[in-house]
Symmetry: C2
Subunit: 143 residues, 2 copies
Amino acid sequence: MTTFKYVVCNIIIYNICDTMKNNYLENESDDICEVFDVHDDAVARVKEQMLSEEEYSDLSEFFKIFGNPTRLKIISLLSAEDLCVCDISEALGLNQTTVSNQLRVLRANNIVKYQKEGKMARYSLTDEHIEMIFKVGLEHILE
Amino acid sequence: MTTFKYVVCNIIIYNICDTMKNNYLENESDDICEVFDVHDDAVARVKEQMLSEEEYSDLSEFFKIFGNPTRLKIISLLSAEDLCVCDISEALGLNQTTVSNQLRVLRANNIVKYQKEGKMARYSLTDEHIEMIFKVGLEHILE
DNA sequence: TTGTCATATCATGATATTATGATATGTTTT
DNA sequence: AAAACATATCATAATATCATGATATGACAA
């Protein structure tokens, strides 16, 4: 299982590094912005590689989820092990409604999944991207 | 330069994979939540590896930045090449105030840095974490 | 030193998000 | 079927965020 995680992680990384490599453009333009004459070449180049409006919107919706301490706590709990709603409320000292609502948000954004086991719901993270983003963010703020 | 990016990227990855490996805990508990008797063992285990309140708060502030399409667009432009404020407004079709305000937010959160060149300000991303998080998020939503 | 330009800051109304109380749903136990 | 329990949904008041107009700052050119 640990090995599996490793492999998945490395596949993701490979893709990222590759994209980073391909995207790298050497460029130096020294002209100055003027009212009807911005750095046209740079602007054109840079616009070309932009995503669609919808992709930016989806992506921001996705990241918005990480922008709340409660959800981040839930994510970090679930990165250690799968838990049910009442365990999460207990661990965080938050009432069940709050946790359940945030889990709904996390579910709607494909960040956690759950498995019903009788009256219980066992929640877990959907994939490695989630833990990954969490860790990279943590590395950044700890610098 | 490309090689440098590759190396930095791989160092980051190594750390992440390592943490992921160490954090992985094999655990199966099949008891059921009851009013005064949650999965105490799981709750205890999971609480132990939590971050501090401040870390969650900082981390969520950091991620909040990615949760807005305009800022995401700016980040994606700057991941291609360094740009000045007016180029960014031009490329995004947004007024200068909006871009400048968002750049202030990005600066305050250590996501972009800038270099004054006369009356111009040339903005760039602070480090590889930023591009990395962007890419992993994109991979996730494109799945 | 006056004008122009690039950028920054401030204030604000519109909109979105938060945690939570009240309540509903659905499952197990008796 | 009634009670107990785990979870989900709804409504809401408090708070935060967004884009932008108005305005300030600071650099360069005439």
